[in-house]
């Protein structure tokens, strides 16, 4: 982890009519960090992430991602980030190779780059024999790992993961997080949202969002000390009790 700030947010706000989804959040993310964005469903995590990805223009406040402004330079932001959502992101009726080729092409990577890195990637994941199989035929755990690899294939500076381990067994989750560590080590900053509090332990620093505001921002160990808790789950419960809105209200 370095001291170079790769994401900065200053009183970032998003309002939909009378409803304030994200309420003046401020934070910084450093290059190479694994930065966790925690919170209950409906707390505003996804909305905040969408603003940082250039998908949604903030109502007020400032933010920069990889040095680009979220209001005026969304195209440049998109070129420099990767993304993986909780819904699965690869095409089930295309082969592994076809999927990689497609997404890498979208980010403008050369054929040479694609070919070489595909070979390397398949070897890493032990999927050389499945290269020409349809993604739909893979087990779910493999699909998740593959989706992550494809998300960072074009070597972005930041990768945004929106609840990436939903519906996946604990072993695969562990393996997935190993991949996240490896990515961070190679210099990619990882911005991950999750509502699994045990995954918070894997992050360098976490924030906890409640009702659109950041109620806590620190390393997991500091937070546990501050709130006198044994696990991040307990920290979260203490903070979440203050919440006024739940996902049910939003639906």
């Amino acid at each position: 982890m370095t001291q170079e700030k790769i994401i900065t947010a200053d009183k970032l706000t998003k309002r939909f009519g009378n409803f304030t989804a994200v309420d003046a959040i401020s934070f910084d993310v450093y290059k190479g960090e694994i930065f966790g964005f925690l919170g209950a469903n409906g707390a505003g995590k996804t909305t905040a992430m969408r603003m940082l990805c250039g998908l949604s223009i903030p109502t007020s406040g400032k933010a920069q991602v990889a040095g680009f402004d979220v209001y005026k330079q969304t195209e440049k932001i998109k070129r420099n980030i990767g993304y993986m959502s909780q819904k699965f992101s690869l095409y089930e009726d295309l082969t592994i190779k076809e999927n990689i080729r497609f997404y890498a092409g979208v980010y403008g990577k050369s054929d040479v780059f694609i070919k070489e890195k595909t070979e390397y990637l398949l070897k890493q994941l032990h999927l050389e024999n499945e290269a020409n199989k349809l993604v739909g035929s893979l087990p779910l755990g493999w699909k998740q790992k593959l989706a992550f690899s494809v998300a960072i294939f074009h070597e972005p500076r930041i990768v945004f993961l929106d609840e990436p381990t939903g519906g996946v067994d604990p072993v695969t989750r562990r393996e997935f997080w190993n991949m996240i560590y490896a990515a961070a080590e190679s210099g990619i900053t990882v911005f991950v949202t999750t509502h699994y509090m045990d995954e918070a332990e894997y992050c360098n620093r976490v924030t906890i969002m409640v009702d659109g505001r950041i109620e806590a921002l620190d390393t997991p160990s500091n937070l546990k000390q501050t709130y006198n808790a044994a696990t991040m789950n307990e920290v979260f419960l203490q903070l979440a009790r203050k919440a006024n809105r739940t996902a049910d209200q939003l639906e």
Binding site: S56, I57, K78, Y83, K87, S89, D93, G105, G108
Partner: protein
């Protein structure tokens, strides 16, 4: 550009790998046209008829065998009393009865006029009207032959000619209709579904976060369906010309160009529908009931627009298929050139542009 092609290639892969849907997309037009051509026809053939002949002279006998000889009628009974007609109709033994009054031929010769009564089973009014028309035509033909060498004073000879379609073949009206239907189904519904599918499985989100311009995503989805539609149009036209004997009187180039225009209109419609929903089922539902069904009923292909109440006539103007149907009929059946259909063509162009603008605006709004 290279990026665009890789998108188009991906879309083709999706379509080609879905064998079942592909079969429907390419096979359905052929199936539809065959069904319409051979099975569903508004023509009536070999209709059973009976004769109630009070004259039994040379003219009535000749007329009766004329009717029997035609492919439209088959003589099944010679009855002797009006009361027998009801029995025939009740039992379904005949659909129409020709009644000759006594001294038919001698009245014709001496009074220059003689009536014939046609009684039809109108419980199916369409069949009854058609059969009555056929019978009348055959009778008038006979009359013409009888009076060929006679000069009848002050007689008004009505000569009926069915222009463009002398045999009154039903197939002439539905080939344009089937083309419209197929294009709407394939283009509108499938385009809507394919875009919404990406939203459903989550890949659309990833694409929107990428540096790709949304317009490329949409256009790349439209291209394969444009090509499939062209294939479909050509196969429908081939079958129409060679199997159903429906000629292409006008310019083939004009016909194809107008079809491609209508295809783009339908694609735009599909695009608009895709911005309105996130579920494939909903997309299909809206396409079918909101667009396809009303279009089939109000575009003039099944039921003549002129017969509809005024308000429905006005509403029918909204549907692009109504204008396209007129264009195809004009070009294909009547052989008219562009100068006769420029108004309808312009309307179609305008609708396409409107739909495209609306869809793109809607699409952009969804992004924010």
């Amino acid at each position: 550009m290279k990026q665009f092609f890789s998108f188009v290639k991906k879309e083709f892969l999706h379509i080609l790998r879905d064998r079942q849907t592909l079969l429907i997309l390419l096979g359905m037009p052929i199936a539809l046209i065959m069904i319409f051509g051979f099975a569903l026809t508004t023509e009536v053939k070999n209709a059973k008829f009976a004769v109630l002949d009070f004259s039994k002279d040379v003219a009535t006998k000749e007329l009766t065998s004329e009717l029997d000889a035609s492919r439209y009628f088959d003589l099944v009974a010679e009855i002797h009393d009006y009361k027998e007609i009801e029995t025939l109709f009740h039992q379904g033994k005949a659909s129409i009865v020709i009644v000759f009054p006594p001294s038919f031929y001698s009245d014709l010769q001496h009074l220059n006029t003689a009536p014939i009564q046609i009684i039809a089973d109108a419980s199916d009014p369409n069949v009854a009207t058609t059969l009555t028309a056929y019978a009348t035509t055959i009778i008038m033909d006979y009359q013409k032959r009888l009076t060929l060498n006679r000069k009848l004073p002050y007689a008004i000879q009505t000569e009926v000619r069915m222009l463009y379609n002398p045999q009154l073949k039903g197939s002439f009206s539905f080939v344009p209709g089937v083309i419209s239907m197929i294009l709407m189904l394939v283009c509108t519904m499938m385009t809507a579904i394919t875009i919404v599918r990406e939203k459903e499985i989550g890949t659309m989100e990833v694409l929107l976060v990428s540096p790709v311009q949304p317009i490329k995503i949409i256009l790349a989805k439209a291209v394969p369906y444009l090509l499939i539609s062209i294939v479909n149009i050509i196969s429908i036209l081939i079958i129409s010309v060679f199997v159903l004997d429906v000629p292409i009187k006008g310019s083939l180039v004009l016909l194809l160009s107008e079809s491609i225009l209508f295809t783009i209109t339908c694609l735009s419609f599909g695009l608009l529908i895709s911005t309105a929903t996130n579920s494939q089922q909903m997309a299909m539902f809206i396409s079918l009931t909101g667009m396809f069904l009303p279009t089939v009923m109000l575009s003039g292909f099944m039921f003549p627009i002129e017969n509809m109440p005024w308000i429905l006539q006005v509403i029918s103007n909204i549907f692009p298929a109504r204008w396209f149907y007129q264009i195809v009929r004009a070009v294909m059946i009547k052989g008219l050139p562009l100068s006769s259909v420029w108004k309808e063509t312009l309307i179609l162009c305008g609708m396409t542009v409107l739909l495209l603008i609306a869809s793109l605006k809607n699409f952009k709004i969804r992004l924010a």
